[in-house]
Structure formats: structure tokens, C-alpha cells
């Protein structure tokens, strides 16, 4: 079966451009249809994916800017397969939600949503570093408009902060990427190339790797968000409209951590080992900081915001354990967190609507009035706190196994985070669903729209809890090969250290 990734990537944008010249009533459904088609493609990708084959599948490789050595290279392997699927899956409910709720300048809104999907899919599929940078930066443009144009409250300040934070990172990464390509070319004497696999074959000297590593790391940590670079998170999460927030939190945050696995570990293995402890400290701090603050928030949105910091800390821990299991767990957890966070924001929108306030203090007792809502919410909460049987449990266990293998102390501290997750997740559920019925709460159970967007996500979560092999089987090869260089580099330095001790 031939699947052209370019079609997958650019279908939403093409539909949105066509829709811009159609009456809004028809145009919006064209955009939604494109989103559904992309999801169909993604499902076909998973079904058709050859799990035994090494390397990339469905490769597209064309010259784009030959002068700069930039090629239009796309490909799928175990590393990005499920992230593409996650993107496709979450964009559908977000687009449906956006299409059904009337808002000012709807066509422009949908155009930006579609452009966002194109950019994210492009970033996941790109196998050329420069192409990745292009899509990575392009991602910001639609979100800048979506938050600033249709947000809530201090939206312009929030969106400006968001874009400046993220773009500062990605501009540094741009400089790093160019330097990586140019210096590798001058080192090897080959033509200038930004192909990630080729760059990985000829690593730079360690000193050079280190400063380039830092440029990349800042970009991806801001995007994640991780502990000292999370300044944009609160304002942005508060101001972002629901369908945008779903994809922002569920999908965009994965691009940064994905890039650590795809680019940083294979291309800069020595630097990754060199900065391993620094990154692990950041990861552990993110887990603890995020969990503690999530516990003390009054708005469910912000609880999820801070819990995302903690969850991404977990993912980071798995990646920088520099271990096969850890990396696989990190990948699994990226998908899980995406599903859970996406569903949570839809539920929070439903809660806010019923309570008439974004504050947890104004909610309460909704379980009696809205049993279906409560049921779905409970499944998601149990997923968040990584109950055995949920996919998150498997992801976190794998991450902790990976970390225990190599970095025992960090793993022990991080496991405190698992306990803390239970505390904040259950707190939100109790305060909103149980307790006495809050005076302002109105309305009944889920509307059809709410149900239609939330239920499928819950179904997928349950499904993955039952059959996690779907992901684990297909990701094993790719995670191993992407971590391999760094593992070797780590082993190498450990051997040297051991030799040093002997002497």
C-alpha cells in the first residue's frame, strides 16, 4: 500500500484554503472532513506498518533547496507513527468542536486550526533537520492567532508571551541546526546536508556537540514545557480557547520531547551523555514542581497545566535515562498524556459551562446530575494517576524501569511523583463531582457534542490499557536504534571512568 505522507500533511491546509472561498456553512465541514481523512490515513498507517522492517517507511525524498542542502524528506518509523496518529486523532474532535460552536471569523479560525495540524504533522514526519525547523517554527503562527484572536481574558499578553518564549527557543535551535549541518559538512568534507540519519552517522567533536546541544535543549524544554522554562504555561492555558488548548496541550507539547529522541540523542550522543544528569535534574524538578503546584490550583485548567509539566518531566526522565525501556516508556507516555490531556480539557469545558465559573470552588456534586460525564471523567482520572490497567501505568512503569537501570536515585525521587499524581487528580474529581451540589451549578448531563468528542478518546484510552502491545510492538525497533548511539557513548565514558579508577 502506498501512502503519500505529503497528502497526509497538507490535506488539512489545502481543505482550509479551499474552504476559505466557500460559504462558511459548507466550508467548515470540508475542513472537518479533511481532519477525518487524515485520521483515516493514520489508522491505515498503523495497520499497514511493517513492524519487522528497519528504517523508514513511506519515504518521500525530494530536493527542495539544493543550494542549502535542504531536502524535503519525510518518513515514518516506530518513533513517530503513533505521534502522527495522536495528532490526527485529537484534531478531529477539536475541529468538530470548533466547527459547531459559532464564533466570530469562523473561517479564519478553522484555517488556523488546519494550518496548525499541517505544521505539527510536518514536524513529526520531517527527516531533514532544516525541514523540521521549518515546521517547528511554522507551528507557532496559527497558535499565535488562535490564542490572540479568540482567547479568553488577557489573551494578547498571553499569546505574545507564548510565542516569544517558544520562538526564542526555536531561533536558538535554528542557529544550532545550521551550525550542525555546516560544521558536519566541513568536518567530513561531504556536501552540506541536514538529513538527520546522515548527521547521526558522523557526530561532531564533543565540545562542539555540547554548545549545539544546549541550543536544542532550550528550544525543546520550552516547548515541553519543563521546569525552569515554563513561564508561559499558566497565562497561555488560561487564555486559550478549548479546542485549541486540547491540541496545544495534547500534541504540541510532544513535539519537543519527540525531538529529543529523534534528533538530540542520535545526533549528539556524547553531549547527551555529558548533560544527562542536568537533564535528569530538570526532569525530576519538573515532576515535583508540577505535581505540588497542580495540587494547590483552584482552576481545573491550571491543575492540568501543572500536571502536564509533571508528566512531561516523566517523559524527559524516560528519554534521558538513555535506556531502551525508558525511551519506549517515554514514547508510550507521550501518547497517553496526549489522550488524557485532550479528553480532560473537553471535560473541563463541560464542567466550566455547568458551574458557570472556571473555579473549582464553584463546582461540586455534578456526579448526581451528570452521571455519564462523571463516568467518563473517572476513567480519565484513573488514567492520569496511572492506575494499573491504564496505559499510563505501563508507560510510567517502563520509564521507571529504564531509569532504575541506569540512574537509581532519580527514579526513586520521581516515583514520589506518581503518588502525588493521585493526590491532585483525585482532588479535582472529588471537588467537582462529589461534595455538596454547588449553588451555581446548572444543566444536566453531557450534550451530544460533548459526548461525541469525549467518548471516543476514552474508548481509545481503555483500548490501549487492554492492548498496549499495539504501541509497544511497533515502537521497539525504532526506540532502540535511536537510543543506541547515546547508550554506546554512555558505555564508552563509563568504561573510561572505570579504567581511570583502576589506574
Amino acid at each position: 500500500m502506498t501512502i503519500h505522507l505529503s497528502i497526509v500533511i497538507f490535506l488539512p491546509l489545502a481543505a482550509a484554503i479551499v474552504a476559505a472561498f466557500m460559504p462558511p456553512r459548507i466550508g467548515r465541514w470540508l475542513v472537518v472532513a479533511a481532519g477525518v481523512a487524515v485520521l483515516g490515513y493514520a489508522v491505515a498507517l498503523i495497520a499497514d506498518f511493517d513492524r519487522s522492517a528497519a528504517g523508514f517507511q513511506y519515504v518521500t525524498d525530494d530536493a527542495w533547496i539544493s543550494e542549502l542542502g535542504i531536502r524535503y524528506q519525510l518518513g515514518v518509523d516506530g518513533l513517530n507513527l503513533f505521534l502522527i496518529a495522536l495528532t490526527a486523532l485529537l484534531w478531529v474532535p477539536a475541529l468538530v468542536w470548533a466547527a459547531l460552536l459559532e464564533r466570530d471569523r469562523q473561517r479564519t479560525f478553522l484555517f488556523h486550526m488546519a494550518l496548525g495540524e499541517t505544521a505539527v504533522l510536518g514536524a513529526f514526519c520531517a527527516q531533514d533537520l532544516a525541514l523540521f525547523v521549518v515546521f517547528f517554527d511554522l507551528m507557532l503562527v496559527p497558535f499565535y492567532f488562535l490564542i490572540g484572536g479568540w482567547g479568553i481574558g488577557e489573551r494578547v499578553a498571553a499569546t505574545t508571551k507564548f510565542v516569544i518564549y517558544t520562538l526564542v527557543g526555536s531561533l536558538l535551535m535554528l542557529a544550532g541546526a545550521v551550525a550542525l549541518g555546516v560544521l558536519t559538512a566541513s568536518e567530513t568534507g561531504n556536501d552540506l546536508t541536514f538529513n538527520i540519519a546522515q548527521l547521526a552517522q558522523s557526530p561532531l567533536p564533543e565540545g562542539t556537540q555540547q554548545w549545539i546541544f544546549l541550543l536544542f535543549a532550550i528550544a525543546f524544554l520550552v516547548k515541553a514545557p519543563a521546569f525552569p522554562f515554563h513561564g508561559w504555561v499558566v497565562d497561555t492555558y488560561r487564555a486559550t480557547p478549548t479546542p485549541v488548548l486540547v491540541v496545544l496541550s495534547a500534541v504540541l507539547s510532544k513535539v519537543g520531547v519527540y525531538a529529543f529522541l529523534r534528533i538530540v540523542l542520535p545526533v549528539m550522543p556524547d553531549a547527551s551523555v555529558h548533560f544527562q544528569d542536568l537533564m535528569l535534574v530538570i526532569a525530576v524538578f519538573s515532576i515535583l514542581y508540577g505535581s505540588v503546584l497542580a495540587f494547590s490550583q483552584d482552576e481545573p485548567r491550571l491543575v492540568v497545566a501543572y500536571s502536564s509539566i509533571a508528566q512531561l518531566g516523566f517523559i524527559l526522565l524516560g528519554i534521558f535515562a538513555i535506556d531502551d525501556l525508558g525511551a519506549q516508556g517515554a514514547l508510550m507516555q507521550m501518547v497517553n498524556h496526549g489522550l488524557v490531556a485532550g479528553a480532560l480539557f473537553f471535560i473541563i469545558a463541560a464542567l466550566t459551562l455547568r458551574a458557570g465559573s472556571p473555579s473549582l470552588a464553584q463546582m461540586g456534586g455534578m456526579a448526581m446530575r451528570a452521571p455519564v460525564l462523571a463516568g467518563l471523567f473517572l476513567v480519565i482520572v484513573l488514567g492520569t494517576l496511572a492506575m494499573p490497567g491504564s496505559p499510563n501505568f505501563i508507560g510510567e512503569i517502563l520509564i521507571l524501569f529504564g531509569a532504575l537501570d541506569t540512574k537509581l536515585v532519580y527514579a526513586l525521587v520521581a516515583s514520589v511523583g506518581v503518588a502525588l499524581a493521585a493526590v491532585y487528580a483525585i482532588r479535582v474529581f472529588q471537588r467537582s463531582m462529589h461534595n455538596r451540589l454547588a449553588p451555581g451549578v446548572e444543566g444536566g448531563d453531557l450534550s451530544r457534542l460533548d459526548f461525541a468528542v469525549i467518548a471516543p478518546l476514552v474508548l481509545v484510552i481503555v483500548g490501549l490499557g487492554v492492548y498496549p502491545q499495539l504501541i509497544l510492538d511497533r515502537t521497539e525497533e525504532a526506540t532502540k536504534s535511536n537510543v543506541a548511539a547515546a547508550t554506546r557513548a554512555g558505555g564508552h565514558s563509563e568504561q573510561q571512568a572505570a579504567l581511570g579508577r583502576k589506574r
Binding site: I65, S66, E67, L68, R105, T108, A130, V133, V134, F135, D137, L138, L140, V141, Y144, F145, G148, G149, R155, V156, T159, T160, V163, I164, L167, V168, L171, L172, L174, A175, V178, A179, G181, V182, L183, S186, L192
Partner: protein, 512 residues
């Protein structure tokens, strides 16, 4: 008698190589003469047509000459008609065309007389063409002055606007200082090397000589400072915001693009041909200037309410980026600079076209207030402006991104990795003001609080139609849309431009 005539050897004139220049100068004279005839049809229609025609002819000749490839300098080695010169002259002609279109409904063109106005515009373009091909110190100065003097007048052509007069005077004074410095520098260089010819200078300096001759170095330094005035490189940029703001907007657009291209044209030639062997001396100094320029330009733009002033400061910053391409002194650097200049043309023309369109219908002149909620009032203007701002900030899928990528590439490859970081830091600062412009257009009820500079209310310059409807001035909208489309197109499919700049890079190729 006949013997005597035979003894005097008539200079050989390469008419084909000079054809673009002839077209522009001829157009300038023709427009001046025809402009004497009064009559609305002639003043408003025929003259712009004639002026545009001469520029189109010049473009055609340039393209034809391009096919011929690089040739030896003509006019006794004083004027190079290589691909570098041709490429940059095409940029002058294009920005001239845009300026003519934007001036169609401009008051100032009518006040001073369309004939004089257009004639001076063309004369300035002729000066730029000479400058872009200058291979001799004398040619440099002739081109430099021919470029500048008409512009001094054009800046002041809104004769009833005090700001415009102030702008003209300021430009005259500062520009003259720049010219004087340049001339002084060129004289020193001549004194040190005994030659006015670029090849002669280069030969006199020699490849192996440890150039510590203070006379030569002083000359180089002064010449570079003189050019820095024209390119608005910090700290010689102070005139830029005032002059840009005061001048009639079509002229500002022309100056912002064409003058900068011209200054970089001669900077490239002078540095990489005449002074190539003392690169070790000027490169660190220029790298320092580039750093200062990038920082000063970007920080200066943050506090601006006036769009023209904002674009002026952003132009200063952009000059800093391009200077990085000169600093590295490689073929790659030349190409990157040439590419960025072309990208710079389309990005700025988009922005200025929108400013022209809005300031004619808004009581706020070129204040940020004039584009408030433009996404509702006139999406056909809001989208181009948005694209221009994103491109100037260096977002992907625009020409600005590829240009910046190319510049960083050249800078890192030329062992100036730190300068690449400076470019990146500058771009970060620039987000503050570029994004603010977008926010004002798209995110309503945004109050921009900039207490330092009070809004200056410019009287509305109504054109033929005072309605705010963009359809009232279709030619301005067309410029904005076409330039915006070009900005995107070059960002997605830049190969044609890359092919062109590859030739350009090789025109100085023998030097590397």
C-alpha cells in the same frame, strides 16, 4: 585635419552594456521635458507610464545582458556590468516601479510637479545603477552623489508638510557628511595605493603584504563609515527614523529598499574587490558594527508607534543582518547578502504599500492606530501586512526565513558562528514589535501603551477617493498583494532566486 581626427582614437562604447543606464537616464530626461506640458491626462497618466516604461525597458536590457554572462568592466574599467551589478540594478528598477505606482495618487508628486518628481526618481535610480557597477573610486563617488542629491529633494517634496521639509533638510545635512567622509576616505585610499581603479588598488595592496599602512587603513575606515551612513548602519543611523517618517511614504519605501541595496552593492564591491587583501583589518570592525546595528535597530523599534519609524528601525536591524554576509567575505556571503536583499525588497514593499493605503484614509496617519482591526476593515490589506511582518521576523514559509537561514549558513561557514547567534538574538528582540503590529490588526481592543512617544496625528492625505474602502486605491492594494504573494512564493519555492544569486556570487568569484 583628417589625420588629426584619425589620431584621436574615439573611445569605444559598449552600447549594449550601457543600455539599461541609457534607458533610465533617457527616461529621466524625457519625463522632465514632457512634464512641462500641462494637462491632467499627461500629468497623471502619461508621465507615470513613461517613467515605468523606461524602467521596464531597463529591466529587459538587464536580463538580456545577464544572458551574456560576466564581461570585463567597460568605460576603461570604470564600470562593471557583471551579474552582481545587473541583479542589484534589477532590484532598483523594481523598487522604482513600486514607488511610481504608490505615488500615483500622492499629493506630493502633484505639488512639485509629476515631471520633476519622476525625473528625479529616475535620476536617483541611474545613480544607483552606476554605483552598483562602480569599479573605480571616481565612479563610486559620481554614482553616490547622483543617487543622493535627487533623494534630498524628493524627501522634501511634500512642500506643505513641515515634517517632510525637516526630513529633506536632515537628510541633506547628514547625507553630505556621509558623502564628505566617503570622499575623504577615497582620497586616502588613492594616496596610499596610487590608483583609483579597484583592480589597481587590489594589486597595490597585494596579497602577501602585511597591510599596516596607516594611510590606507584610515582611508578604508573612512570610506566604510561614509557607506555606513547610506546603509543606515549603527551608529551612523540616527537620521533614518526621522527622514523615513517625514518623507512622502512612496519615497520612504523607495529609500528604504533601493538606497540600502545600493549601499550594500558598493560595500560588497569595495570590500571584496578593492580591499579584499586587508580583510583581516576591516572584517572584525564590520562584525562589530553589525552587532551594534542589529541590537540598536531592534531595540529602537520596540518603542515606535509610527509604522514608518518602526520600519525605519527594522531596516536598521536588517542592515545589520546583511552586513554579516559582507563580513565573512566569501562567495557564500555575497550570495546570502544578495538573496536577502531581494527578500528584503518584497517584504518591505508589502509593508509600505499597506502603510500608504492606510495613511491616505486614516486620520491617524501612519500611527499604529491606523491599522487597528484591519482584519475586519480590509482583510485584503491585513493579510499582506501580516505576511510582511512574519517574513521580516523570519518565520518559515516566507522569503525572510530562507534569507535568514542562508545568512546564518554563510556566517557559520565563514567562521563567525558568534555573529550567527547575534542575528538570532536580534530576531528574538524583533518579535516584540513585529508581533505587536499583527496583534493590533487581528486582536481587537488591544491598547498599545507606548508612553514615551506620543502619537503624532498626521492630517489625512486623501487621494481621489476618501473612502476607507481599499477598492478606492486598487493599485496600492495590488502592490501589497503581489509583493506578499512573492514573499510567500520565495519562501516555499526559492530555487529561481537561488539560481540567480549563484551567478551573482560567481561574478566576484575570481576574487575568492
Amino acid at each position: 585635419m583628417i589625420d588629426l581626427l584619425a589620431a584621436v582614437k574615439a573611445p569605444e562604447i559598449d552600447y549594449q552594456a550601457l543600455a539599461p543606464l541609457f534607458a533610465v537616464i533617457g527616461g529621466s530626461i524625457l519625463v522632465l521635458i514632457v512634464g512641462l506640458i500641462s494637462g491632467r491626462a499627461i500629468q497623471r497618466v502619461l508621465l507615470p507610464l513613461l517613467a515605468s516604461a523606461s524602467l521596464v525597458v531597463a529591466i529587459v536590457f538587464s536580463v538580456v545582458n545577464w544572458e551574456a554572462g560576466d564581461t570585463a568592466p567597460i568605460v576603461e574599467g570604470a564600470l562593471g556590468v557583471d551579474t552582481l551589478a545587473l541583479f542589484l540594478s534589477i532590484l532598483f528598477y523594481l523598487s522604482g516601479l513600486v514607488a511610481i505606482v504608490l505615488s500615483l495618487r500622492s499629493e506630493s508628486a502633484q505639488e512639485v510637479g509629476a515631471g520633476e518628481y519622476l525625473s528625479m526618481l529616475l535620476a536617483s535610480i541611474a545613480g544607483m545603477t552606476v554605483l552598483a557597477g562602480a569599479e573605480n573610486l571616481v565612479t563610486v563617488f559620481v554614482g553616490f552623489e547622483l543617487l543622493s542629491i535627487p533623494l534630498y529633494v524628493l524627501c522634501a517634496s511634500s512642500v506643505r508638510d513641515r515634517l517632510s521639509l525637516e526630513s529633506g533638510l536632515k537628510y541633506l545635512v547628514v547625507g553630505s557628511v556621509g558623502s564628505a567622509t566617503l570622499l575623504y576616505g577615497l582620497a586616502f585610499v588613492y594616496g596610499a595605493t596610487g590608483s583609483t581603479d579597484f583592480s589597481g588598488i587590489s594589486a597595490a595592496i597585494g596579497p602577501d603584504v602585511d597591510a599596516t599602512d596607516p594611510l590606507l587603513l584610515t582611508g578604508v575606515a573612512l570610506a566604510l563609515v561614509g557607506l555606513a551612513f547610506k546603509a543606515s548602519v549603527a551608529p551612523f543611523h540616527q537620521w533614518t527614523p526621522d527622514v523615513y517618517q517625514g518623507a512622502p511614504t512612496p519615497i520612504t519605501a523607495f529609500m528604504a529598499v533601493a538606497t540600502k541595496v545600493a549601499a550594500f552593492a558598493i560595500l560588497l564591491r569595495l570590500c571584496l574587490h578593492a580591499f579584499a587583501d586587508v580583510q583581516a583589518d576591516w572584517a572584525p570592525a564590520l562584525a562589530g558594527l553589525a552587532t551594534v546595528t542589529i541590537l540598536v535597530g531592534n531595540v529602537g523599534a520596540i518603542g515606535q508607534r509610527s509604522l514608518k519609524r518602526l520600519l525605519a528601525w527594522s531596516g536598521v536591524a536588517q542592515a545589520g543582518y546583511m552586513l554579516a554576509g559582507v563580513v565573512v567575505g566569501t562567495e557564500l556571503g555575497v550570495r546570502a547578502t544578495a538573496f536577502y536583499l531581494a527578500a528584503y525588497l518584497v517584504m518591505n514593499m508589502t509593508a509600505f504599500a499597506v502603510v500608504v493605503a492606510r495613511e491616505r484614509v486614516s486620520e491617524h496617519g501612519d500611527d499604529l492606530e491606523s491599522i487597528r482591526d484591519l482584519s475586519r476593515a480590509a482583510p485584503v490589506l491585513a493579510w499582506p501586512m501580516t505576511i510582511a511582518m512574519l517574513a521580516l521576523a523570519g518565520f518559515p514559509a516566507t522569503a525572510g526565513f530562507i534569507g535568514k537561514f542562508f545568512l546564518i549558513d554563510a556566517t557559520v561557514a565563514g567562521d563567525y558562528a558568534w555573529l550567527a547567534i547575534v542575528i538570532v538574538v536580534g530576531s528574538m528582540i524583533s518579535l516584540v514589535y513585529y508581533l505587536r503590529v499583527i496583534a493590533v490588526m487581528w486582536m481587537d481592543r488591544l491598547e498599545v501603551k507606548l508612553p514615551t512617544i506620543p502619537p503624532r496625528y498626521v492630517k489625512p492625505v486623501a487621494g481621489w477617493s476618501p473612502e476607507a474602502d481599499p477598492r478606492a486605491q486598487p493599485e496600492v492594494v495590488a502592490v501589497a498583494v503581489i509583493a506578499a504573494v512573492a514573499t510567500i512564493a520565495l519562501g516555499i519555492y526559492p530555487s529561481p532566486l537561488f539560481d540567480a544569486v549563484r551567478d551573482v556570487g560567481s561574478s566576484l568569484g575570481s576574487l575568492f
